[in-house]
């Protein structure tokens, strides 16, 4: 491993900025977040970055390292330094920039508020008793640490900027966890199709590629939801049967 690497860091805000090179001394197991801390501690204390746990669990240190959406605390310097020992670190590009590596991800919290919480009928005795086979599927989605890397990489939000039309992958799996919940009585399909905009997703799977929790967002979340929406809104046979027999109770 080389003794020093150069961090080419974006410094600036939404009005403009520069990439500035900082040389940092490496140590075994060093991650990119360590390098940023070293710059803050020894070269420039005004570098802005958000972090909390340094254990890939709080989801605060999201950035784009060599153009890849990553958690800085989970990205080894060794793996990212090119042949000249250079690593480029940029802020997330899908959200408004506050300063340097800090972006305003609050749109995600506003989206979360639009999703009705778990709705359980009053007749069900509390606390709920549930079987493992019923919760298994949704446990995967509960691993989400809300790093919003999937929201950052999703081309619907990133390239097409359709934040007005699509909730984004993180919220698709949030709805999936509710929709697949055995006790939830809320009808999630209309929201998915209309306001949530599931049709914008073209299942190109970038969300799944970047998720640090290795959640299968598309395979286990979005595609099953698309099938549920198809059941209700697009399958001519099912629509016909529903017309004849009447709607199924959930």
């Amino acid at each position: 491993m080389r003794d020093k690497v150069t961090i080419r860091l974006f410094r600036g805000n939404a009005n403009g900025g520069t990439e500035t090179d900082y040389e940092v001394t490496t140590f075994p197991g060093m991650v990119v977040l360590d390098a940023i801390h070293q710059i803050q501690g020894t070269q420039d204390s005004t570098v802005a970055c958000r972090w909390n746990c340094k254990a890939a669990k709080c989801g605060s240190c999201s950035a784009e390292i060599n153009g890849r959406p990553r958690l800085m605390c989970k990205s080894h310097v060794e793996d990212f330094a090119d042949s000249n020992g250079l690593i480029r670190v940029h802020p997330l590009k899908t959200f408004p920039l506050i300063k340097d590596l800090v972006t305003d991800v609050s749109i995600n919290y506003r989206t979360a508020e639009k999703i009705p919480p778990l709705t359980v009928s009053e007749d069900i005795p509390r606390p709920f008793k549930m079987q493992q086979i019923d919760v298994e599927r949704i446990q995967e989605f509960r691993k989400c640490i809300e790093c919003f890397l999937c929201q950052d990489v999703c081309h619907v939000l990133r390239d097409h900027n359709r934040k007005d039309g699509y909730f984004g992958p993180r919220f698709m799996i949030k709805i999936a966890a509710l929709s697949m919940h055995p006790l939830d009585t809320g009808n999630r399909l209309r929201q998915l199709k209309e306001e949530g905009g599931i049709g914008y997703c073209n299942i190109t799977k970038c969300c799944e590629e970047v998720c640090p929790e290795h959640i299968h967002l598309t395979d286990n979340g979005i595609i099953p939801l698309k099938e549920r929406v198809a059941d209700y809104y697009y399958d001519p046979l099912k629509i016909l049967i529903r017309k004849i027999v009447g709607p199924k109770k959930k």
């Binding site: 080419r8 600036g12 939404a14 009005n15 403009g16 900025g17 520069t18 990439e19 500035t20 090179d21 784009e64 060599n66 153009g67 890849r68 959406p69 090119d82 480029r88 940029h90 802020p91 590009k93 959200f95 408004p96 920039l97 972006t103 079987q131 086979i133 019923d134 950052d152 619907v156 390239d159 097409h160 900027n161 359709r162 699509y166 929709s179 697949m180 919940h181 055995p182 939830d184 905009g197 049709g199 914008y200 997703c201 073209n202 299942i203 190109t204 970038c206 970047v210 598309t218 395979d219 595609i223 099953p224 698309k226 099938e227 549920r228 929406v229 198809a230 059941d231 697009y234 399958d235």
Partner: protein
């Protein structure tokens, strides 16, 4: 060192180019374009060729998957410029697997990325900046039709059953006296591998996974949902490698047709093993 100033970026996003990834992302899209195009050209040629799809020499019984089932009549089509033309029966057969693969969730990912560049790769900027707000995903015609993938799956199941029958036939040889007996040729093995891969691809389908159990919310609620949970688990296991099955089954069906074409046209000989 580059410096950037805000100009056209919406909502105060970072004034940076959307992508600064090294040029390592284009390999997959390029490979996809090349292989799918070659497969498309080959299939179109073979579908119209209407020849060399059945090999019966020395008692063998190999029928190309492109022409199976053998349609008794070659239907004719009234084509605008060409008048009444006989059309190869393969055309009527191939629409079904074509629809199945075109609407398959995996192939959708593959061609949206490599042919439509929507996006070309993850965190790689889409080239047509002017069309950015016009993107509608799968909400409008024609892509809204992808929602009917399950119907293509139903058709694919029928085709798989027919191809299993052809595979059994590929192991049954006809003697000079007209009797039938078991035998194995290289072609029989090719057929067997192909149908296994095609079955793995078909039954790892996402629509099937939904149908067989994914649609339930409560697995423990009845014995029906309990058993569908078991099947759903197994389908999920297969589904995990759906992309792999998609590729290898495409290559195997390609090779199977090529094999039949090659032995039927005399390009090379089928070797009898048993």
């Amino acid at each position: 060192m580059a410096s950037y100033s805000a100009n056209s970026r919406e909502e105060g996003r970072a004034p940076l180019p959307m992508e600064n990834r090294e040029l390592d992302w284009w390999l997959m899209p390029l490979l996809t374009v090349v292989v799918l195009t070659l497969f498309g050209v080959y299939t179109t040629f073979r579908a119209f060729e209407n020849n060399y799809y059945l090999y019966t020499k020395n008692g063998a019984n190999y029928l190309s998957p492109f022409y199976s089932p053998l349609l008794p009549i070659a239907w004719s089509l009234h084509l605008p410029l060409f008048g009444l033309k006989m059309v190869s029966p393969a055309i009527y057969i191939l629409i079904f697997p074509l629809a199945f693969r075109l609407t398959c969730y995996y192939y959708r990912k593959a061609y949206y990325r490599s042919f439509f560049w929507d996006p070309p790769a993850c965190a790689v900027a889409e080239p047509r900046a002017d069309a950015r707000m016009k993107y509608t995903g799968e909400r409008k015609f024609p892509f809204i039709l992808q929602n009917l993938h399950r119907y293509a799956f139903y058709a694919a199941v029928v085709i798989v059953i027919i191809l299993w029958k052809d595979t059994v036939d590929a192991f049954i040889w006809t003697g000079p006296d007209g009797s039938h007996h078991f035998g194995i040729g290289v072609g029989s093995i090719v057929f067997l591998v192909n149908i296994i891969l095609l079955s793995l691809y078909t039954f790892s389908c996402h629509s099937w996974r939904h149908l067989i159990g994914g649609k339930h919310n409560c697995y423990s609620c009845s014995c029906v949902t309990r058993s569908s949970y078991g099947i759903w688990k197994k389908v999920s296991f297969l589904n995990h490698n759906h992309a792999l099955w998609a590729w290898v089954s495409m290559l195997s069906v390609w090779f199977t047709d090529f094999y039949v074409m090659a032995v039927a046209s005399g390009m090379f000989k089928d070797i009898r093993i048993l």
